[in-house]
């Protein structure tokens, strides 16, 4: 219903066939996936059964075989959060197409149709991933999401892009390997494949091992923790729309992986696995904070700052007894604000100036006060200084850290929080460096910004951003009031 409503609204508002075609296709894809899961359960189950019988025939017990409904999880993930994630995936995709249409229509859509195909496959994979509750389906969705990303990077046809694609490929394959390992451990220990059933098994040692592997894998895939090294070269090499896709939209479904943990690992607070994960997160945050100090490329700066922000969210999540809502709201708000930064970035690149280095920014002060205003507001919103909404959720995440492990003031948590805030300060520093160069530095060439990106287009952008935000807002209210 949500998709149909979106299609209708979009068609009413803009009356363009092209987008309408896309969204009809997406909604039908989603419906197909739903129907596929609901109606043809037994068929799929038989295929899975066969495959698993061939692979794990020695270690399976007969009870699992006799009940095919266990294989393809009967109930979809867990209610509200899954619905939010689905909705977010769709709305992010929607806004992404919306943005690309206004700036990159000709380049992106008409010249290279394979990119559209890749994006469709990626959306399919993301939705499949988000609506699954089952080890196999999760893995399928993950690979469906990762492969088109790889092709999108590789299609840039530059040396840097091919190198970046290779890097991304190696890292994501490594992540997939770890995912499979963790699934194998989970399956051997529990004999189950549905995430809902793992709660029943509290074998501490092997469950913690699985948890470690699972988290490490998704940290690699997200580019969080000390495994962020693929992100800066990839961000730097690709074109702007692909950059936006990789840095925001493809991360939404991956966050679902950490929400899955709420079910599996809820009974294992204060375990050594969690300490290991938190150590990795803090290490990664501090490493990228150190790298940020000497960085001058805007895209690389955005890669490092996203690492730091995800680190804060994830630390709050792990140490705060898996508080899903704060984590989700924080990360989603961060991603939405990221989009606003990327809009600014798109405007920068709109007339092929390719201003990627901080030192090339400048000359806005006299020429264009609007450019200064948009830059500064979007960066300040993204950095999460106090009156911005992100700040409140960041503070809640930090409160989670200090509150851990018991409900009294904790010195270790206090110092962890201060370490993480130092990392966050270095991200403030990088943002303020950009702001300083934009609003003060003089340049030799006079940039004619906003020549191609007219004011109308900016207004459309703002409309898109506000509508996305409002839709998320109303959806969340509707969910929680029911």
């Amino acid at each position: 219903m949500v998709n149909l409503a979106y299609d209708f609204l979009y068609y009413m508002a803009f009356g363009q066939k092209f987008e309408f075609y896309f969204f009809v296709m997406f909604s039908t894809l989603m419906m197909v996936i739903r129907i596929f899961q609901l109606v043809s359960l037994p068929v799929i189950a038989q295929i899975y059964n066969l495959a698993f019988f061939i692979i794990f025939s020695s270690s399976l017990n007969s009870i699992v075989f006799s009940n095919p409904a266990v294989w393809v999880g009967g109930n979809f993930f867990f209610g509200v959060d899954a619905a939010i994630l689905k909705f977010l995936t769709i709305s992010f995709w929607f806004s992404f197409y919306f943005f690309i249409k206004t700036f990159y229509f000709e380049e992106f859509f008409e010249k290279n149709e394979f990119k559209i195909f890749s994006l469709d496959i990626a959306l399919c994979g993301a939705l499949y991933f988000v609506s699954s509750n089952n080890l196999l389906e999760i893995f399928l969705g993950l690979e469906l999401l990762a492969f088109p990303t790889y092709t999108l990077i590789g299609l840039e046809k530059t040396k840097a892009a091919t190198e970046a694609a290779l890097k991304y490929f190696i890292y994501s394959v490594y992540g997939s390997l770890l995912v499979i390992l963790s699934f194998i451990v989970l399956f051997i220990v529990t004999g189950q494949v549905s995430f809902n059933d793992f709660v029943l098994f509290t074998d501490p040692y092997s469950m913690q091992l699985a948890l470690m592997l699972f988290c490490t894998a998704f940290m690699v895939k997200l580019g969080v923790g000390p495994f962020y090294h693929w992100a800066p070269p990839v961000y730097q090499a690709v074109s702007s729309p692909v950059f936006i896709f990789i840095s925001t939209i493809s991360k939404v479904p991956l966050l679902a992986a950490f929400v899955y943990l709420a079910k599996t690992a809820f009974l294992l607070p204060n375990s050594w696995a969690i300490s290991y994960i938190c150590f990795l997160l803090i290490l990664g945050g501090l490493m990228s904070a150190k790298d940020l100090l000497s960085e001058s490329n805007i895209r690389r700066i955005l890669a490092y700052t996203s690492n730091i922000n995800f680190t804060i969210g994830l630390l709050g999540y792990f140490l705060g007894m898996f508080n899903v809502k704060i984590f989700l709201i924080y990360t989603v708000l961060y991603l939405v604000s990221n989009l606003s930064v990327y809009i600014w970035h798109l405007i920068l690149n709109s007339n092929k100036l390719q201003k990627e280095e901080i030192s090339n920014l400048g000359g806005f002060n006299k020429e264009n006060t609007l450019a200064v205003f948009i830059t500064n507001t979007s960066l300040i919103i993204n950095s999460g200084l106090p009156p911005v909404t992100i700040f409140f959720f960041k503070l809640m995440a930090i409160g989670n850290i200090v509150f851990w492990p018991t409900a009294i003031f904790n010195l270790l948590g206090f110092f962890i929080a201060i370490f993480i805030l130092f990392a966050s300060l270095s991200s403030y520093g990088a943002y303020f460096k950009i702001i300083k160069n934009v609003s003060y530095r003089k340049s030799f060439e006079v940039p004619d910004l906003y020549q191609e990106a007219s004011l109308n287009q900016i207004k459309i952008f703002q409309f898109g951003l506000i509508s996305t935000g409002l839709s998320i807002y109303f959806f969340v209210t509707a969910l929680y009031f029911n």
Partner: protein, 477 residues
């Protein structure tokens, strides 16, 4: 003497800057009169009802409304400082109105003026510690841009960076504690309930709270080791920027000290656990002496006045830590009168710099012959700066010293030497610039016009009013 134009015409009254600032002054005075400064509540109520309804309340642990409630209550000092804020913005609007065509990017100027003004009102009139803290950090953003865009020397880059990051780094412990207290059921963010609820917590948490608040506010005031950002920022800011920084931004720290320490120091005194009074006393004294001694070596006129501000703020912390009412009222009077006198001094010095494009003390001799009106007005503000009897600075410092003598008479001895040092150094500074033989080789400063003289008297009259009749402030406490 040059020809003086009366540049303040009736057409100028209706320019945007003047109009907007005057409207804001009216609005805030009305809202504070009726005590309905409650609009922040609206936003947070919506936030609470959407994200954290009753259904998920048990998971989130805490109650959002109880944290972010903003009652119509306001205290006298906050109201007084907000009146000072509106008055200074009004004077700035008057001063810059005739020369608004000379200001670079005037729209941005108006924008940042309004953003900073509104957030300062919210900061001083809220009864909620959380909102106070949020805006306390947010206020850096408009001032960052004010220093960056309208500053005049290349050194402004590092100065603006210091202005932001000193405060951010030193408020890190407070940030973490704020995050912790969101989940702490035995903690209220309302200023009225802050200490009763804090007393229910563990003593270690109380001491952590004390020190993190101390760090955050000591940078803003600033106290001795953390003062490094201030002379830079004041020196590199434009005239209106340094007026606002000295006039109001330092009072944020003072107001925070008042809200957190005036009552809390009572608790600590009664408990006799740690003698925190002595620590703050020593740091304040160090601040006073350091700032008044280092001035003898200063060559930059703006930095000199910035150091005088640091010295005065040392008296404010002395008064607020001594936990009796005389000293508290004294420090609030110091804050108000320093807001006016430092603003006047910065206007004078800024005018001198705009005329001569030099900040070095050596470049000026004999201003009294070339610009007599300026010399007279400068002298009035110098008198206010050394807390001459008849200005309200005198009343404030005397009340602080009386309050200190109530604790123990020995405590008043060293601050009194600080007062003497301040007077000596300020008169020396004034004499170096204004008196002496005027030569052609010296920088030339044109005299003030009527509009500027009017603005300077608008600043000076409240100082004398409070100096001769301090009842108008004291009776509200």
């Amino acid at each position: 003497m040059k020809k003086i134009n009366f540049s303040f015409s009736s057409a100028d009254i209706f320019n945007p800057l003047f109009f907007i600032v005057f409207g804001l002054v009216l609005l805030t005075s009305l809202t504070s009169y009726f005590g309905v400064f409650n609009s922040t509540n609206f936003f947070f109520n919506i936030l609470q009802s959407t994200f954290f309804s009753e259904q998920v309340h048990s998971e989130i642990i805490y109650n959002f409304t109880s944290i972010l409630v903003n009652s119509p209550y306001y205290n006298t000092s906050g109201l007084l400082i907000s009146i000072l804020t509106s008055y200074l913005y009004f004077v700035i609007a008057l001063y810059y109105n005739p020369i608004r065509n000379n200001i670079v990017s005037f729209q941005l100027f108006v924008f940042f003026i309004i953003v900073s003004e509104v957030s300062l009102y919210f900061t001083f009139l809220t009864s909620n510690f959380f909102i106070f803290y949020s805006l306390f950090e947010f206020i850096l953003v408009p001032f960052y841009f004010i220093v960056l865009i309208w500053g005049s020397r290349p050194n402004k880059l590092s100065a603006s960076f210091r202005l932001v990051f000193f405060t951010l780094v030193f408020s890190l412990p407070l940030t973490t504690l704020m995050g912790f207290n969101l989940y702490n059921n035995y903690f209220s963010f309302n200023f009225e309930m802050l200490f009763p609820t804090l007393a229910a917590n563990h003593i270690i948490l109380q001491i952590f709270f004390y020190f993190s608040c101390f760090l955050a506010f000591a940078v803003k005031i600033p106290l001795f080791p953390a003062h490094v950002w201030l002379p830079e920022a004041h020196g590199e800011a434009p005239t209106f920027g340094s007026v606002l920084l000295a006039g109001i931004l330092l009072k944020l720290g003072g107001y925070g000290f008042y809200q957190v320490f005036y009552e809390f120091s009572n608790v600590i005194f009664n408990m006799q656990i740690v003698n925190l009074f002595s620590i703050v006393y020593v740091i304040s004294l160090l601040t006073i002496f350091y700032s008044n001694i280092i001035v003898f070596n200063q060559l930059d006129i703006k930095k000199t006045i910035a150091y005088y501000s640091i010295g005065h703020m040392g008296f404010v912390t002395l008064g607020l830590i001594s936990s009796n009412q005389e000293a508290m009222i004294g420090s609030i009077i110091i804050m108000l009168s320093h807001g006016l006198s430092a603003a006047g001094l910065f206007f004078c010095v800024g005018y001198i710099y705009e005329q001569s494009h030099s900040r070095s003390i050596i470049a000026f001799r004999g201003l009294a012959t070339s610009a007599p009106y300026l010399a007279i007005i400068f002298f009035l503000f110098v008198c206010a700066n050394i807390s001459f009897p008849g200005t309200s600075n005198f009343i404030g410092e005397q009340m602080v010293l009386i309050g200190l003598a109530k604790i123990s008479p020995e405590f008043t001895f060293l601050p009194m030497i600080g007062v003497l040092l301040n007077g000596f150094s300020t008169f020396l500074f004034y004499a170096k610039i204004v008196f002496g033989e005027f030569k052609i080789s010296n920088s030339f400063v044109r005299d003030l016009n009527y509009n500027q003289i009017f603005c300077f008297f608008a600043i000076f009259i409240p100082l004398t009013l409070m100096g001769f009749y301090p009842e108008i402030i004291i009776k509200y406490f």
